[in-house]
């Protein structure tokens, strides 16, 4: 063991930290700095995406009414039909690719993987830097698309052909956005290769697979899905770009193409082969974060750690086999449809194992209701609703009725906005002291939590109701249809809750900037939450450039809480993953099991 520690030390020598401004803060190869860069870039776009969402809600509450505050940016101060299309399109794209993905995967993947497995940096630090700057390029492409002559992309975030071809959406805007999707895919792939390799090669001695914190498991499985399926989206974007810019006919139906048409359904296949794994790409890191955080704040070992790990692996595998459930109404063969339905419903089994393990972890724990724990519990509840409504949509006969209604919108917002985003907030509140050395204010944090939790519940709950009543999604003015006129009140109330949800985010913005820049706030100390994983027990807050003065020697699993033996020897209710308990000497046998 000791020998292996020396070998890992030799393989990862300590380098002197960079001193110049550019190397230190801009073109940094330090995974912690890159994590913060992803955080800033992601939060900025999260705000933009949120503003776009508010515009959609304004339109559904008060169609044709002049928009307050932002009216100056719009033609005539109102939202027109074409602008409306661009708003909901870019809201979806920005939130998924340019806000949640960088915050959840870019930030936590970069920050946590090396720190939690006991490595000095990523396996390929330079590739990591290239990944971030490629990502920035894709963000710039999206911003540029807003300046295009007839506006940005307007074919929906799914960019279904032929609406997304030159026939449906002419102009440079859509082309730039499709290019941005390709470029961000390249950035994701680079990151994924890095994450996978780092976990395989750079785990500290003693950090066996079954001692990995669940967060690392979540991020690692995410990276595998990213590496496998983001390139498929790349192929689709590439073909669409060729169709738009070089006159090829991959997606143009025969009726539109001059000679020999392509197949619009092809886009849906390629898009959803990527798109369904993508929703698990966005939720698996959250699953991992919740697994750890719930255990940390319930002061109990995670219930059936191995079960959760295997359930996550099964989810990863199954997620690649269900994409057809997005296409039940495309005229797919019923036999094929039933196969996809079967696999879709099968995913609920491993998902339930994960959720039950969370609940049993918290059960009978001595819970500490700090802000991260509130967010974690909120995520469990909101994601639970998202998961249960998924059962309706996975079932063909139900889906035929609910397809393309606001029920779908409510469902995927409960999983992706509520599940992934609130999961990301959980991680942010929890690892903030590690990133910036200071804790976020508890009172503002709790106010932020209640606004976010109740806001999401009411907004997306309202969408579920409206969808169940039959309201189609993406309509510019739904109330032109007499059938929906009775839903105007519901839509307006949902919008009010959405505005409250948005307003509640200012608690976070104030909290964030105040804590990062204020000099008066006390440093949080190395391990403010009294938890077990390496980044807290073996490294300072924020960690030095080389992370660990000495590569830790891991002796136990990640959730050693409330063990009476540990309590007797140390007087604490937890033991770090690399901690040698007094009187135990050479850790020939690990003191605890995961």
């Amino acid at each position: 063991m000791i020998n292996m520690q020396a070998e890992m030390e030799a393989a990862q020598p300590i380098h002197a930290p960079p001193t110049s401004f550019w190397r230190k803060y801009v073109f940094s190869i330090d995974h912690k700095v890159i994590a913060k860069q992803f955080l800033w870039a992601g939060l900025l776009f999260l705000f933009v995406g949120g503003v776009l969402a508010m515009l959609i809600r304004w339109q559904w509450a008060f169609p044709y009414r002049e928009v307050p505050l932002l009216g100056g940016l719009l033609e005539g101060g109102r939202i027109g039909p074409a602008t409306y299309q661009q708003i909901f399109t870019t809201h979806g794209l920005i939130m998924i690719f340019f806000a949640v993905t960088p915050v959840l995967i870019g930030t936590f993947g970069n920050l946590l993987i090396p720190l939690m497995i006991g490595a000095r940096d990523m396996a390929f630090p330079k590739l990591n830097m290239y990944s971030f700057w490629t990502f920035v390029l894709s963000q710039l492409l999206v911003l540029a698309s807003f300046l295009a002559p007839i506006g940005t992309a307007g074919a929906g975030w799914t960019s279904y052909a032929p609406l997304s071809t030159n026939v449906g959406t002419p102009g440079m805007g859509q082309t730039l956005v499709v290019a941005a999707i390709f470029v961000t895919g390249v950035a994701s792939t680079m990151g994924a290769v890095n994450y996978i390799t780092t976990v395989i090669r750079l785990r500290a001695p003693g950090m066996t697979w079954m001692r990995l914190p669940l967060t690392v498991w979540g991020l690692w499985l995410t990276a595998i899905l990213n590496a496998l399926f983001v390139p498929v989206l790349g192929s689709a974007a590439l073909l669409l770009l060729l169709d738009r810019s070089f006159g090829t006919h991959f997606f143009m139906p025969a009726a539109v193409a001059a000679r020999g048409g392509g197949d619009p359904i092809l886009w849906q296949h390629l898009f959803w082969i990527f798109g369904h794994p993508e929703v698990y790409i966005m939720i698996l890191p959250t699953f991992g974060i919740l697994g750890d955080v719930l255990s940390f704040f319930a002061r109990k070992p995670h219930h059936w750690y191995r079960g959760t790990v295997w359930a996550l692996i099964v989810i990863t595998v199954l997620s690649a086999m269900v994409y057809g459930h997005h296409m039940f109404v495309t005229g797919m063969s019923p036999l094929l449809g039933e196969g996809f339905m079967l696999f879709t419903l099968l995913i609920s089994i491993p998902s339930m194992i994960v959720v039950l393990n969370w609940i049993l972890t918290v059960w009978n724990g001595s819970i500490r209701f700090d802000t991260p724990m509130l967010f974690a519990l909120g995520t469990v509840f909101l994601f639970g609703i998202g998961g249960l409504t998924g059962l309706y949509l996975g079932d063909i006969s139900m889906d035929l009725y609910l397809h393309d209604t606001l029920f779908v919108v409510g469902h995927f917002h409960f999983t992706m906005a509520a599940g992934s985003l609130v999961g990301a907030f959980t991680g942010l509140y929890f690892w903030f002291p590690k990133m910036f050395g200071k804790r976020l204010d508890e009172r503002l944090g709790k106010a932020h939590f209640w606004f976010t939790f109740l806001g999401l519940l009411l907004v997306f709950g309202g969408q579920l109701l409206a969808g169940y009543a039959g309201q189609q999604r993406r309509l510019f003015d739904p109330f032109q249809n007499p059938v929906y006129q009775g839903l105007a009140g519901l839509n307006r109330w949902t919008s009010f809750f959405a505005f409250a949800l948005f307003a509640g985010q200012f608690f976070f913005i104030v909290n964030f900037f105040r804590t990062v820049f204020s000099k008066r706030i006390q440093p949080a100390g190395q391990n403010p939450w009294h938890v077990t994983t390496l980044e807290w027990t073996d490294s300072a807050s924020p960690p030095p450039f080389h992370n660990f003065d000495r590569i830790p020697l891991v002796v136990r699993g990640p959730h050693e809480f409330s063990n009476p033996e540990v309590q007797r020897l140390t007087g604490r209710d937890f033991a770090g993953q690399a901690e040698v308990l007094p009187g135990q000497g050479e850790p020939a046998v690990s003191a605890g099991r995961a």
């Binding site: 396996a123 073909l239 006159g247 991959f250 020999g260 390629l270």
Partner: protein, 210 residues
């Protein structure tokens, strides 16, 4: 216990850096950072292969939906020159195998020659490919003339871009090999090159022959 990051060293007394060591040690076993680079490259190629799997999926779908393939008004695709190109790619991969072996044995000059030959064959491939494009373009096959032309140009041009990147990389690796450096670079570029070669064989079989 996980697999050690750094393999155990050779038994004491044996000088690993000497040009001649035991024949059973003929193949260099990568360690440490070099091995990490290999793992990363394998994952990257697997990931990139998914891009091409997506493209081939698109090709299969478009082709099965087409009423007639190739369409009646499309000029017939040549088989001879692309066939020669297949041979060029295969020969280039073979040269690459020899080059990597030479570089690992420390025979810098042979390594340089092998890599340079592989790169030159890649350039030949690109030249012949340009001939094929030119003749078909003149015969009236354009990217905009239906899905047949779309598939043909999209696939061959996208593949040729990969070959062009490979030619650049191999040239760079060749000059490093001449200086006695870049053992790892030669091996990693060889993987990429074989990957591009296998892709071409699949392309030749599905686009030109079948």
């Amino acid at each position: 216990m996980s697999e050690p990051m750094v393999e155990r060293r050779e038994p004491a007394g044996e000088d690993v850096s000497a040009p001649v060591y035991g024949l059973e040690r003929y193949r260099h076993r990568p360690r440490g950072e070099e091995r990490t680079a290999h793992v990363g490259m394998a994952i990257f190629l697997g990931s990139w292969a998914m891009l091409f799997i997506g493209l081939f999926f698109a090709y299969a779908l478009v082709r099965t939906r087409a009423p007639l393939w190739p369409p009646l008004d499309a000029p017939p695709l040549p088989r001879l020159i692309p066939g020669l190109n297949t041979l060029a790619i295969l020969a280039s991969s073979a040269a690459m195998v020899r080059a990597v072996r030479s570089v690992e044995l420390g025979r810098n000059r042979q390594g340089f020659q092998g890599l340079a030959a592989a790169a030159a064959l890649g350039a030949v491939f690109l030249g012949l490919q340009a001939l094929v494009w030119g003749s078909l373009w003149r015969a009236g096959l354009l990217p905009s003339s239906g899905t047949f032309g779309s598939v043909f140009y999209a696939f061959t041009v996208f593949h040729a871009l990969h070959v062009a990147v490979g030619v650049g990389g191999l040239t760079w690796a060749a000059f490093r090999a001449r200086r006695g450096a870049g053992r790892s670079a030669a091996r990693l570029w060889s993987w990429y090159w074989h990957f591009v070669g296998v892709l071409w064989v699949a392309l030749y079989a599905t686009v030109f022959l079948a």
